[in-house]
């Protein structure tokens, strides 16, 4: 069954989930943790911003570089 995971574990799961590498049960467990943990919710948001930034990077051919 699900159990409470630490932030150490949650952050690893957040990263894997970003690449669709987290199993359903892991995402459930992560979801529970995130409900209770603002820090890790912010962490997940930050990783999404990192991805947005990588996509919007000026060196990429479709983005306007100076």
């Amino acid at each position: 069954m699900t159990f409470m995971i630490s932030c150490t574990q949650a952050t690893q799961l957040v990263s894997r989930a970003l690449d669709a590498q987290a199993a359903f049960s892991e995402r459930l467990t992560l979801g529970l943790h995130l409900l209770a943990c603002q820090g890790c919710r912010n962490y997940r948001r930050q990783l999404r911003i990192l991805r947005l930034a990588a996509r919007a990077h000026p060196a990429r051919p479709d983005n306007e570089a100076s």
């Binding site: 590498q21 943990c37 890790c40 990588a54 919007a56």
Partner: protein
């Protein structure tokens, strides 16, 4: 088979963009230079195969991307014989968490707000590139392949001959490292004047 002046001009115009992209991926100016030269050469030699369905830029960048992947593949082959892939990154970030594995109060991630304005700020990109270059080389390589070269994790594992769990650990470290750097150098300094500047892109 000499190129037409139009094609030469178009290639030259794209050269700086190609170089900038290659330098970001390879972190080595001369390797980037070589990759771009080979790309332009390949483009000239294969002019006929360019049918114009994609733009010239897209076509050139796809050639460059393949050259970069070749170099990455070659580099990893050179190192895996001697040592395991992962160990140039000693940081496991455990200092950010307490004994129960929860964020230390002072290290707990805060909100970074709405990214749109941030991503329009030139200063941000300077800091972002610094943070990218601060990543250990092998960590950076995996991160780049994932986020800039569009590989999914299975493909990265296969290319670099590392296990999936190794791959995940490296990506996790890359993201940990990047966000920590950005937190320290950008988002955590949000009251400084440079952040209130008008978007310059």
């Amino acid at each position: 088979m000499s190129p037409s002046p139009e094609i030469s001009q178009a290639l030259n115009a794209l050269r700086p963009k190609l170089l900038r992209f290659a330098t970001l991926q390879l972190r080595d100016a001369s390797a980037a230079e070589d990759a771009v030269q080979e790309t332009l050469l390949a483009a000239l030699q294969n002019q006929q195969t360019f049918r114009g369905e994609a733009s010239l830029k897209t076509w050139l960048f796809s050639i460059l991307r393949n050259k970069i992947v070749d170099i990455i593949r070659q580099r990893s082959r050179e190192t895996t014989l001697d040592e395991p892939f992962v160990d140039d990154d000693q940081d496991d970030f455990s200092a950010l968490f307490d004994e129960q594995g929860h964020w230390n109060r002072e290290d707990r991630p805060s909100s970074w707000g709405n990214p749109q304005q941030t991503l329009e700020n030139n200063h941000f990109w300077t800091i972002f590139d610094i943070c990218l270059s601060n990543l250990p080389e092998k960590t950076s390589r995996v991160f780049m392949m994932r986020e800039f070269l569009g590989f999914d994790t299975d493909e990265i594992c296969k290319e670099l001959k590392i296990s999936s769990s190794n791959c995940w650990v490296i990506l996790h470290r890359a993201r940990m490292g990047l966000r920590l750097c950005l937190q320290d150098r950008w988002f955590g300094t949000i009251d400084t004047p440079s952040h209130s500047s008008v978007p310059t892109r």
